[in-house]
């Protein structure tokens, strides 16, 4: 059985997008691919959730965007992390750590 497509935990998508963009600016397809890759296909982000998230995050000032060219040579909109976005990523990492530790502990308790 292949990897199951899992519903993204509320708020997790933003964190994954921020994390994905720490290395380099990427366009929509690139972000979705990267997330799918690093999670071994567990998370497949469709455009219906990816693009609303990107636009929302840009409005909050976490990302900025510019048109550029992909490796294949066609125009696409690339997203880049802003300094506010980096700060947000740190905050979300912290939050995620707290949550995951708490949940694991709860599940391991007999």
């Amino acid at each position: 059985m292949g990897p199951r497509q899992t519903e993204l935990l509320q708020g997790t998508l933003d964190m994954l997008i921020l994390k994905t963009l720490t290395l380099e600016p990427l366009h929509g397809v690139g972000i979705a691919d990267r997330i799918e890759q690093v999670t071994n296909g567990t998370f497949q982000v469709g455009p219906g959730s990816l693009f609303p998230a990107l636009h929302r995050m840009q409005e909050r000032g976490w990302l900025k965007s510019a048109w550029g060219e992909t490796q294949a040579g066609h125009r696409a909109k690339f997203y880049e992390l802003t300094s506010a976005g980096r700060k947000q990523l740190q905050a979300e990492k912290q939050r995620w750590k707290t949550i995951s530790v708490a949940v694991s502990r709860a599940m391991e308790t007999n």
């Binding site: 397809v29 693009f51 294949a72 066609h74």
Partner: protein, 163 residues
């Protein structure tokens, strides 16, 4: 906060441009999916069809992005207003009835309020309103009754402290 305000203004006043930008972005997304499928050996038509299906309807995606934007509520509110105005124009009889109902309601309210305002809330039109008083005559066989104004002159002559 500032970034959000800026995009709010941008979304409102440059709706066309924001919309075109989104169209272009989603077009390029779709195009890339199509190219990938062609590289996998599909015909262009089939690749387009599959990419569209996988994207879950581009119009729907656009709608979702619009819904995520700041100022979305104002946009929908303005749409509702426009829709309402069109509806009224389409049925002038109904519109007329509405206007008349409002006119009647507001008119009646104003009339009643003006009256109550003059009688109850405003100071009595007298030189020294604080010195005004009610006089009640106690007559065991007749019960209480308001002092008649004709009697005022007689009383005033007898009781000097009234003035």
């Amino acid at each position: 906060m500032l970034a959000r305000f800026r995009s709010f203004v941008r979304n409102l006043f440059r709706r066309e441009k924001v919309g075109r930008d989104l169209d272009a972005e989603l077009d390029s997304f779709l195009e890339e999916q199509v190219l990938r499928k062609i590289a996998q050996g599909l015909s262009r038509d089939e690749a387009m069809r599959q990419a569209r299906v996988e994207a879950g309807g581009i119009t729907q995606v656009k709608e979702q992005v619009r819904g995520a934007r700041t100022g979305f509520w104002l946009e929908t509110f303005l749409n509702d207003l426009r829709y309402g105005a069109r509806g009224l124009r389409r049925s002038p009889g109904f519109a007329m009835a509405c206007v008349l109902t409002f006119a009647l309601g507001i008119g009646a309210n104003t009339a009643i309020f003006s009256m109550v305002n003059a009688l109850v809330f405003r100071a009595v039109h007298a030189e020294k309103p604080k010195q005004l008083a009610y006089f009640v005559a106690h007559q065991p066989e007749l019960g209480e009754r308001l002092f008649l104004s004709q009697l005022y002159g007689d009383t005033a002559r007898v009781a000097r402290s009234l003035r």
